[in-house]
Symmetry: C2
Subunit: 235 residues, 2 copies
């Protein structure tokens, strides 16, 4: 097989990787934008996040088409095949992160009509900051080919789950205090759940990226806990 | 190219299709089981649905591996490639349906501690019946190669969205009536949302199946509406 063919495969794979990076950047920007829009009742920013989702979808379609053509045309083996299939899977998770950010953005109107208490805003902001760090971190680690850092990053998802449980409890309390809070809190509940799910998608991406790099599954997979599914009222 | 090769490709594709049917059957059984467990506080049934999700995941992995190997080994063109890629995408949606059913099942314990009012149970049961019909229907139509019926089935997702909005409003009302309902209703809210999302995944499957059959996108894609993201309190 000539050097030309090999280079060309690498070029095509580079293009696929570039799409992953683009999608990762966009996912980070959408997560940041949607939470900022939510906490500041910024409907213009929310609208931008909603529009961004179409860009994300288009990028995923482009990546899928390129990756499938690459497999069919080049019949890559072992590590190369793993890289292409891994890219398809990571793109699917990034696209889902975009969907979830869009869903947060769509709730800005319904939540914004009532004031969110400061304590609750802080809790949601803290959660969103953790999630954003994970989204930006996972693509950076993949690009840097840093498998060790991916293991650590996956473990950090636990902190998001803990924070989500705290937000969930705060929201329940706040709803019980005053029925007029119920509608807004219900939407905030879905927003917090979306952030928690974004964390799970980051975990998936970390696992796929690790597999692409090492050919091995990440050891002792941590179950993606949502402890609130067992949570009942505090008292 | 000899007859043997052609037949063998078809055999392999048949196997992939059989996995889709298996996953479809399992998805239907999980959706039915999870809602039944929820409405009857049947924790044993809930546990079975939770276990079934591991079977679903294993089937998806098997399908993915087979499909990717098929593409790499056989380099299928046009319709054949479409069928294999379509199967990968349908399997991803079926797997997500399994996840959502599992999430409903996991909430049975938290909800079961309080009695769900009869009217609300009926609304959730009606919604679940619609969703189950869609899940079972979409795989049947795909197997029967009935593209026309898929168009109709996709349109029926709208009824689920309408029913979800009704359930959402009922839950808000019920929470406002008595704060002691808030915890259970919050979990029911997530269950209803999961059912609505299962409907969206059925829509995706219908679109993919239609594309596999016809090589064309379903016309005038209906946006997957969740009107409750804009819903505020009734009064």
């Amino acid at each position: 097989m000539g050097q030309h063919t090999v280079t060309s495969f690498d070029d095509e794979l580079d293009h696929v990787d570039r799409l992953i990076r683009d999608m990762g950047d966009l996912a980070g920007s959408m997560v940041q934008g949607s939470t900022r829009a939510l906490l500041n009742s910024d409907t213009a920013l929310a609208q931008r996040v909603i529009s961004d989702d179409a860009v994300m979808d288009a990028k995923q379609r482009e990546l899928d088409d390129r990756a499938i053509t690459l497999i069919a045309k080049r019949q890559p083996m072992a590590q190369d095949l793993r890289a292409v299939v891994g890219a398809i899977r990571m793109a699917a998770d990034l696209e889902r992160i975009g969907d979830l950010a869009k869903n947060i953005a769509k709730r800005v109107g319904a939540v914004g009509q009532s004031a969110t208490p400061r304590g609750l805003s802080h809790s949601i902001e803290a959660m969103s900051g953790m999630v954003l760090g994970q989204v930006n971190g996972v693509v950076d680690r993949y690009v840097a080919d840093d498998a060790e850092a991916l293991m650590k990053l996956r473990a950090d998802d636990e902190k998001i789950d803990v924070q989500y449980t705290a937000v969930f409890r705060e929201l329940l309390t706040y709803m019980m205090e005053d029925p007029r809070n119920i509608t807004a809190c219900t939407h905030l509940l879905f927003c917090a759940k979306n952030l928690e799910r974004i964390g799970d998608h980051v975990t998936n991406i970390a696992e796929n990226a690790y597999f692409v790099m090492t050919g091995e599954q990440l050891p002792a997979q941590r179950p993606k806990l949502d402890e609130t599914s067992m949570t009942v009222a505090a008292d």
